[in-house]
Amino acid sequence: MSAFDCETARRAFWGARRKQLSPAEQRDFHAHLRGCAACRADYEQERALDEALARLRTYTAPESLRQRLSLLVSARQPTPAATPRRRDKLRIAAWSSALLLTLSLGTGGALFWQHRTRADDVLVTEAINDHLRVLFAQNPLDVASGGIHQVKPWFEGRLDFAPVLDFEGNDEFVLQGGAVAYFVDRKAAMFLFKHRLHVITLLVFRAERLPLPAPGAIKPAQLTASTTAQRGFNVVLFRRQDLGYALVSDVDASELEKLAGKIANAR
C-alpha cells in the first residue's frame, strides 16, 4: 500500500514536476498515482501544461542590447586610455542602429541649434546612461551645494581639467551639488540641478576627440548645440572652447535649452 494519501500526493506535484523528489518519495508518489485515477489525471494535466509552457516563445536579447550592456559594465570603470578608439568605434556600431532620431531645432541665447548627426547618438546614449545612474544612486552627490563657489572648488585635484561653469543657478534651476563621473572614456564633472521636481544632470568634460557640435559651425564665434529626445529624456550637447557640455533630463526640451543658454551665456 502507498504511503501517500491524495493530499500528500498533490503537495508533491511541484517536486515531481521538478524531479526533486527523493527516490523513496518518488516511489511512494508513483505508487499512489497507480492506485488513484483522480490524482493520476490531475498530475497528467500538470505535466501537459508544463509541456505546453515549454513551447512558450523564448525571447532572446537583441544583440544591440547585449553590446550596450557589455559597454555599460566596462564604461563604469574605464580602463586606461589604451583602447578608447576601439571602444568608441564599438559604441557607434552598437548603438547607432537602435537610437531614435528626434530633432529639436531652435535658437536661444548665444546658442545655435544644429541638426544632430549619427555620431551624436553615442554621446546622447552615454549622457542618458549617466543620468540614469544619478537617478538610481542613493547618494549621487559627492558635494552638496552651498552655492557654485563651494561646488566648483571641490573638483580641484579630482579632475585633470577645470570645469567651467559660471551659471550659479537660480530659483528656476537650483544647483544641488556635484560629483565626479565618467563620460565615455574620460572623467567628467557632474552637476545636479533641480527644476521643480525634475532632476537635471549637467556633465562637463574634455571635448577632444568627441563628436560634439563644432563651435561656429553655423555662425562663426557662436556656440552650436544640438537637442535630442531619446527614451523619454532630452539631451542638449554643446561645446565651449575645449570643454563639452551635456545636459540631460526628462524636463521639456525648451526648458533644458533655456538652461543651456544660461550656462553658455554666463560670464
Binding site: 500528500t8 505546453a52 513551447r55 532572446t60 536579447a61 542590447l65
Partner: protein, 204 residues
C-alpha cells in the same frame, strides 16, 4: 515525511512588504570588499537573455523590455555591495528587474491591461481536462496561443508562471515577490488553472 521541500524558517512569511528586493538585500548583507563593477558585471552578463525574456513577457513590449534590462543592470551594479557572494545571483537580479518593472509601471503608467485581465480560477477545475482527449488537445496548443493565454493573466499570475519556468523554488519566489510561500503556491495554482482554462478554449 513530507515530499515537499521545507522552507527555512527565516524565509517564511517574514514580511508582507512589497519591497522584496530590499528584504533580499537585508538578507544578503556584504561581508567583504565591494566587487569591481567589471567583475560583477561580467557575472550578470550570462543572465541577459533570461532577464530579457522575463522583461519581455512582463512588459509585453520590446522597447520597455530593453529599458528594463538596462535599468536592472544599472541598479544591480549600484547595489553590488549588497549582494552576498555565493547566494543566488539570478534570483537577486530577477528581483531587481521585477521591482524595476513595478517602478516603470507606476512612473510611466505604461499600457497595462492587468486591471481587467485577471482570469478567475474556474469553478470545478478538477473536472476540466480530466480525459485523455483534453490532455492531448492541450499538448497540441501552439506557441502563439500559449503566449496569448499568458498575456491574459494578471501581472501576479504571469510573474508566478514565468518565475516557475525559470525553476526558482517557492522560497526564492516568495522572497522576490515579497509574500509568503503559501501565497506563491496559491498564486501559481490559480495562474496555472487559469492558463489551463484558456488553453482548453483554444484547443476546442
Amino acid at each position: 515525511m513530507s515530499p515537499v521541500k521545507s522552507v527555512p524558517a527565516s524565509r517564511r512569511d517574514s514580511s508582507r512588504s512589497s519591497t522584496g528586493e530590499q528584504r533580499w538585500f537585508e538578507a544578503t548583507m556584504p561581508h567583504g570588499a565591494t566587487p569591481s563593477t567589471e567583475g560583477f558585471g561580467a557575472e550578470l552578463l550570462p543572465y541577459v537573455d533570461a532577464l530579457y525574456n522575463f522583461a519581455r513577457h512582463l512588459s509585453r513590449d520590446p522597447h520597455n523590455a530593453e529599458d528594463l534590462v538596462q535599468e536592472t543592470f544599472l541598479r544591480a551594479l549600484a547595489a553590488r555591495a549588497q549582494f552576498r557572494p555565493g547566494s543566488n545571483l539570478k534570483a537577486w537580479v530577477f528581483c531587481i528587474l521585477r521591482n524595476a518593472h513595478l517602478d516603470l509601471v507606476r512612473r510611466r503608467t505604461i499600457q497595462s491591461t492587468d486591471a481587467d485581465a485577471e482570469l478567475a480560477a474556474p469553478d470545478g477545475e478538477a473536472e476540466l481536462l480530466r480525459g485523455d482527449i483534453e490532455i492531448d488537445r492541450l499538448r497540441g496548443i501552439v506557441s502563439e496561443q500559449i503566449e496569448t493565454a499568458l498575456d491574459g493573466l494578471s501581472a501576479d499570475g504571469r510573474e508566478a508562471i514565468l518565475l516557475d519556468l525559470e525553476e526558482f523554488n517557492e522560497a526564492e519566489m516568495a522572497e522576490m515577490l515579497g509574500c509568503a510561500t503559501g501565497t506563491v503556491k496559491s498564486r501559481l495554482a490559480r495562474a496555472r488553472a487559469a492558463l489551463r482554462k484558456q488553453l482548453r478554449e483554444y484547443a476546442k
